[in-house]
């Protein structure tokens, strides 16, 4: 059954309001999922992620990054990965990781990767629309 123009118009208004509210209220942050190959040292104690909105300035820590996350032993796994949440949408972030051992000795950086953080709602909508086309 074909919906009437009036119904479509009303639905459209409701949808616009809901989307507007949703975009206003939904936290305007995104995430980045990092993964890497595991180190093999027997005294490995953990990894650290360094990141920021500027590319690094050196090959070893601190390298000019604004943020650091100590993942500790939780990230020691066969396929280590970590999700960084609450990144600002629209900004480009640069990431490197290091490893450290039980006595605190830390490696230099891995290769650097970057990601521009997208809006999760828009990204989900795009994916959905792509699928139904």
């Amino acid at each position: 059954m074909k919906p009437s123009a009036k119904k479509l118009f009303l639905i459209g208004i409701v949808v616009i309001i809901l989307v507007f509210l949703g975009l206003r209220i939904y936290p305007m942050t995104g995430k980045a999922t990092l993964s890497w190959r595991p180190n093999t040292e027997t005294d490995l104690a953990g990894y650290k992620i360094y990141y920021g909105t500027l590319a690094r300035t050196g090959d070893c820590p601190p390298g000019g990054y604004s943020d650091k996350l100590d993942l500790g032993k939780t990230a020691i796994a066969e396929s280590p990965s970590y999700i960084i949440n609450n990144l600002e949408i629209g900004r480009t972030y640069y990431f490197s990781i290091t490893s450290y051992d039980n006595s605190g000795k830390e490696s230099c950086f891995s290769g650097e990767v970057k990601k521009t953080i997208g809006n999760p709602i828009i990204e989900q909508l795009k994916i959905f629309i792509k699928r139904i086309k």
Partner: protein, 537 residues
């Protein structure tokens, strides 16, 4: 028709995401604070954080998380107080982005009695993690960390350094006011104190308290009251606090804080652990008191009508002037099993009756000047080990001149190996962690011996670093000097070849090099390889 369906699906999708967006408003949020942030122009995101911890907390709802970025935060504006309550499965969380990389100080603010740098007052379901609290030169508040009338509180990975003048009743960490389900885990406490970590009070009924892997060093005190690193403080009359669990806690290198005058019964120290008055149901698993000065004992676990005290695989070593273990009072049930008590003037002082339910089993007495200073006797006294052999007594004593290599382990092949009544060892083996990380009383694994090694001691580098910081004994305190780089905080090299650590100090106390599987040798000077294959999505 297909066109209409697509249109309908499209609108439904938009409605769905619109509603999803609305639903997002009730989801837990994560906010950030940084020393470079701004409370006026910031929005709490990692890229645009707020500046003070207090402002961040004021923006939180129950179940939210506040992450504090590295740096030093000074003044009451950064104290952790007024935290909104969380709920089951949705704790409100305040955490340092990197453990022990955030330091909170008093700054120049004058503190009032309620200005505890961490204050949980009638809170529920709150978790705080990763902070160094460096509080100096203000006699109030009495506690740096105060938990009062709260439940389901997890305080993890924190170090407190208390310096300067303090109230003579000051406890650095205090749990009271009928609090229940409280966890302290991976913590260090040092500086001036009456009690380092204290739970209970003269009219308190707190229950279900766990202290897991906390290290306390008593540096000095101006208190004329009894003192100790840890206290479970019972009621004046009738049983008060009960159900307290100490797991792998350590009292270490405590100084003599008695001025040598007055009645020592009221002014002297208990070196490591003290349960004043009427406490009940206190259990110690794998705890250590080592090299603490105590007038009345290394562990004074029973007093007045205190009852149901259990020591399991505990070490009481080098406890100062008089006794290792001290029992007094008149209620029953004490169990001492598989402990190692050594290096003390007397192994124990037992003046508690009736003794119908007093058990002393499978415990090694090693190198005490005498076995006991008073002994009312035990209902069961069996399978205990003795060196010197002349101190042997009880049923089936295992007297031997064998050497004890480490205070934390019974060696295979020694006389005490497998000699316990259950086929285990006589004496303490403190090798693995007690309690699953993060668990409160009653949660799965909260009171089990895990498969995870306790050594090297978690975060020992940070604990040593903070404990080594200058902290002069203020006028009127005892002792008059405080060398913060003593004992485990000494510089130099351990017998195992690496720097002295908390782990190596404990393991090498008897003069044997720390085993390779426990301490990392200094010959390893190579950093691990840089990780490879990093990708981002």
């Amino acid at each position: 028709m297909p066109k209409i369906q697509k249109t309908q699906i499209f609108f439904l999708a938009i409605i769905f995401f619109g509603l999803f967006g609305l639903a997002g408003s009730s989801r837990a949020a994560t906010y950030y604070v940084a020393t470079t942030g701004n409370n006026s122009t910031g929005n709490g995101s990692t890229g645009n954080p707020w500046q003070t911890v207090g402002y961040g907390i004021s923006q939180m709802a129950g179940g939210d998380t506040l992450i504090v970025k590295d740096g030093t935060y000074s003044g009451t504006a950064n104290f952790i107080t007024g935290v909104p309550n969380g709920s089951v499965g949705a704790y409100t969380t305040i955490k340092a982005e990197n453990p022990f990389e955030v330091r909170i100080t008093r700054g120049t603010d004058n503190l009032l009695y309620y200005d505890n740098p961490i204050r949980m007052n009638a809170n529920s379901y709150v978790e705080v993690e990763g902070f160094i609290l460096d509080i100096a030169d203000d006699s109030t508040p009495p506690s740096v960390v105060g938990v009062t009338g709260s439940d389901h509180i997890k305080l993890k990975k924190f170090i407190v350094k208390r310096s300067g003048v303090l109230d003579q009743y000051a406890n650095i960490v205090a749990i009271s006011g009928g609090s229940t389900y409280v966890l302290l885990e991976d913590c260090g406490v040092t500086g001036g104190m009456r009690y380092g970590i204290y739970a209970g009070g003269t009219a308190d009924t707190s229950r279900y308290i766990i202290l897991r892997r906390c290290v306390v060093r008593n540096d000095y005190s101006n208190s004329t009251q009894p003192k100790a690193a840890f206290a479970t403080y019972g009621n004046n009359a009738g049983i008060g606090i009960r159900d307290v669990l100490y797991q792998n806690t350590v009292a270490i290198d405590g100084q003599n804080t008695w001025d040598g005058t007055g009645d020592p019964s009221s002014r002297a120290t208990y070196a490591g652990y003290y349960n004043p008055k009427n406490a009940a149901d206190v259990t110690y698993h794998g705890t250590i008191t080592l090299n603490n000065y105590g007038y009345w004992g290394g562990m004074g676990i029973k007093e007045l009508s205190g009852t149901n005290m259990t020591l399991d695989s505990c070490v009481i070593w080098d406890s100062g002037e008089n006794y290792g273990l001290r029992l007094s009072g008149n209620q029953d049930y004490v169990s001492v099993n598989k402990c190692t008590i050594g290096g003390n003037a007397a192994g124990f002082y037992h003046a508690s009756s009736p003794v119908d339910n007093h058990f002393l089993k499978n415990t090694l007495f090693y190198n005490n000047t005498s076995l006991s200073a008073s002994n009312y006797g035990w209902a069961t006294e069996s399978n205990n080990g003795f060196n010197p052999v002349g101190q042997a007594r009880g049923t089936n004593p295992i007297a031997s001149t064998d050497n004890l290599e480490y205070i934390t382990r019974i060696e295979a092949g020694s006389a005490w190996d497998g000699a316990a009544d259950d086929g285990g060892d006589v004496g303490a083996n403190i090798l693995n962690k007690w309690g699953v990380d993060g668990t409160l009383w009653g949660e799965t694994g909260y009171d089990q011996l895990t498969d995870n090694s306790l050594w090297p001691w978690p975060y020992e580098d940070k604990i040593k670093e903070v404990f080594s910081e200058a902290n002069s004994s203020p006028a009127g305190s005892n002792p008059a000097t405080n060398d913060t780089t003593r004992g485990f905080a000494s510089s130099g090299t351990g017998l195992y070849g690496g720097p002295i650590t908390l782990t190596s100090y404990i393991w090498e106390y008897l003069g044997s090099a720390c085993p390779a599987e426990i301490c990392t040798a200094s010959s390893d000077t190579t950093a691990p390889a840089a990780p490879s294959g990093l990708s981002v999505q």
